[in-house]
């Protein structure tokens, strides 16, 4: 288990230009502290690349590569292959991609890399929309959220389709290790990175990354919002390895979704019926989770 006192004082991501309160900095810093300096980071078009690799202010103290939007999985494959071909075995190749870069435009390359079993580490930091371009919806935007291209209006309650489930898509690949995490649960996150780093083959961690700018909450509430997502069952923390899913944290009772939704501007337009619909969706999801992964023997 990772302990705070054991964490290195070295910073591998430092001086970035992310918005105040962004969960991305936490994810980047903590992940790299666990993986260490023998790590190469690759970043597709995303908030992460925009705020960390603007020449001449480079924010990584490990080697990094900024990449085309669709190519994260494939460039990781190439790095892993290039290292292997040269007999280098002690380097982590890590991708930080956003939700759009993972679940939309980057899904093909990610699927290819995972299917091939390449020795790569893929992190999706999920802020639930194309934030870097000004808050447009992705396939990971939750139902009911207003974005700049799925706005609420007289004929719209915002995003009309539920969030795609990347964790289960990765499980369908029979990936050696997949997990979900949240920037609001740093120890859980770091423990998962620590475990994954020692696993040969593709590793995928999907991290909920609350976005003050895009979701509409004050920048000091990032952790609180991240926790509420888990406590209301709108996000869950889990791991998949050796063919089995293990829930990392199961709230005793799920709080009403309204406690989560009402704190964010993106859901403020929702009427009670839509909130009820969202709660019903959540209940259905959790019934499935209980059936699949929480069966008591």
């Amino acid at each position: 288990m990772v302990k705070a006192k054991d964490l290195t004082d070295k910073e591998y991501l430092y001086g970035h230009k992310a918005c105040p309160g962004c969960g991305l900095g936490t994810i980047g810093r903590l992940t790299l502290k666990i993986l260490g300096e023998r790590t190469i980071v690759t970043l597709p078009a995303s908030c992460m690349s925009t705020v960390t690799t603007q020449y001449p202010q480079m924010n990584y103290t490990v080697p990094s590569l900024t990449m085309a939007f669709a190519g994260t999985g494939a460039v990781l494959t190439g790095m892993a292959a290039g290292l292997k071909a040269q007999g280098i075995t002690d380097v982590n190749v890590l991708g930080f991609a956003g939700d759009g870069g993972t679940a939309d435009i980057g899904l093909q390359a990610l699927s290819g890399a995972v299917e091939r079993g390449d020795n790569i580490f893929y992190i999706c930091y999920d802020n639930e929309a194309y934030m870097n371009t000004g808050v447009q919806r992705s396939s990971l935007t939750p139902i009911g959220a207003a974005t700049t291209d799925s706005p609420s209006g007289t004929a719209s309650f915002g995003e009309s389709k539920p969030k795609k489930n990347m964790f289960e898509i990765m499980i369908a690949h029979r990936i050696p290790y997949a997990a979900t995490a949240s920037s609001a649960y740093p120890y859980d996150l770091m423990n998962k990175v620590e475990k994954a780093k020692n696993i040969q083959g593709p590793k995928y961690i999907h991290i909920m990354c609350p976005c003050p700018t895009g979701w509409g909450f004050a920048s000091d509430l990032t952790v609180e919002i991240g926790k509420l997502a888990v406590e209301t069952g709108m996000w869950y923390l889990a791991e998949y390895e050796n063919g089995k899913v293990k829930m990392s944290h199961v709230p005793k009772t799920l709080k009403p979704v309204e406690e989560y939704l009402s704190r964010q501007k993106r859901f403020r337009h929702l009427n009670p019926e839509t909130i009820k619909l969202i709660q019903e969706n959540r209940d259905r999801e959790w019934a499935l989770i209980k059936e699949k992964w929480l069966q008591v023997c």
């Binding site: 480079m58 990584y60 290039g82 071909a85």
Partner: protein, 388 residues
């Protein structure tokens, strides 16, 4: 000598260069390259990471990742595949990774067709890749080797695309000399990339550069391409001295000494044209042939000089920039015109989507050029071999 088709020659060329990583995605008429290399790897004749990528975009991404960690990378594609990796061509050249790729020239859909023309690669003109077009299997093999020497030169660090005409080159069997491995090893030492990661000096690659700096990165690419002109000539000389085959750098002249009219072409049309030139020369006609080997960097200086020597120039384009003319003709006219009192030019659009460019076609082109040089009217752009 071995009896190989062009794709096989490329596969042997790649094998001799000892690439660490080969990510490839199959597409006709490149597939034989993919298959032969897979055979080499399956039989331990080649020691490399062969990656079955799920698209051409990913092929170039993976090649870039490999190059980032200092590995030598090779890939091959064609047509739709080249178009699909278009975005990555810019990424690779802009971040200066010395990757070598074979492209089997094939027309682009629609109408869909698997046969050869050069619009696929010519339309990638501004992607920042060095582009060479070969005439036969031997040149294909040799140019894969030379391509690495050019791409990995300190003054260049720019990717190279080696183009073979689909089917006419890729699937035609010829006698090809496969150089000895130890001789290629002497010619092409292992890659010690100056543009790769180093944990002692961590750097960020392929970074974002805002308006304040972006133009300066472009200027360096411009310089690298200008440097490549010299490096191409040097590598050709060094290769010729070692293996006995010289290709004359950016362009090769064939019987142009006292020529009044010349044809310019790329790729497989050159072989046919040589025969026609010989025949017409026997008849006492002062014809010449210019083999344009490198499309980028473009040998503008050569054509400026040619401008003073000939009365008419024909350019065979196996492509067409709709709304104007053939892409190669535009560049050649521009260079000829910059010299003042330029020769007249006919742009022949020919060999589209695999249509044969016959000896008769070429002979007809020379006669039209003589018409033009004698003051007769000829249309500036003519389709050769069109049904109507």
């Amino acid at each position: 000598m071995d009896f190989l088709n062009g794709d096989e020659a490329v596969a042997y060329g790649a094998k001799l260069c000892r690439p660490h990583v080969i990510p490839v995605y199959p597409i006709t008429p490149q597939t034989i390259v993919v298959e032969r290399i897979a055979d080499f790897v399956a039989n331990k004749l080649m020691d490399c990471e062969y990656i079955h990528v799920e698209s051409e975009h990913s092929a170039m991404c993976a090649a870039m990742g490999a190059s980032l960690v200092g590995a030598r990378a090779f890939t091959a594609t064609s047509s739709q595949g080249l178009a699909y990796m278009h975005e990555m061509l810019h990424y690779v050249s802009g971040s200066r990774f010395p990757i070598v790729m074979m492209n089997a020239n094939r027309t682009l859909a629609a109408p869909w067709n698997i046969f050869g023309d050069q619009r696929d690669s010519l339309s990638q003109r501004d992607t920042g890749w060095i582009q060479v077009y070969v005439e036969n299997g031997q040149e294909a093999l040799d140019m894969i080797i030379q391509a690495y020497a050019i791409a990995e030169d300190d003054r260049v660090y720019t990717p190279v695309m080696v183009n073979l005409d689909g089917f006419v080159n890729t699937h035609t069997y010829e006698l090809v000399d496969i150089p000895e491995q130890h001789e290629v090893d002497q010619f092409l030492p292992p890659l010690r990339s100056k543009n790769a990661i180093d944990f002692n000096h961590p750097r960020s690659f392929c970074i974002s550069a805002a308006t304040e700096w972006n133009m300066e990165f472009r200027y360096q690419q411009y310089e690298a391409m200008e440097n490549a002109k010299q490096v191409i000539v040097e590598v050709d000389k060094r290769f010729g001295d070692k293996f006995g085959r010289y290709y004359h750098g950016l362009v090769e002249e064939y019987r142009c000494e006292d020529a009044e009219v010349v044809l310019v072409a790329l790729g497989s049309a050159i072989g046919t044209s040589r025969i026609v030139v010989d025949k017409l020369r026997e008849q006492g006609l002062k014809v010449g042939l210019v083999k344009l080997r490198f499309y980028r960097p473009f040998p503008a200086e050569y054509f400026k000089a040619l401008s003073k020597r000939v009365k008419a120039v024909g350019v065979i384009d196996r492509d067409l920039s709709f709304g104007y003319e053939g892409a190669v003709a535009s560049d050649i006219k521009s260079a000829l015109n910059s010299a003042g009192s330029p020769p007249k030019v006919i742009n022949f659009i020919a060999g589209i989507a695999g249509r044969d460019i016959t000896k008769e076609n070429i002979e007809g082109m020379y006669h039209k050029l003589f018409n033009l040089s004698q003051g007769k009217f000829e249309k500036e752009l003519q389709f050769t071999g069109l049904r109507w």
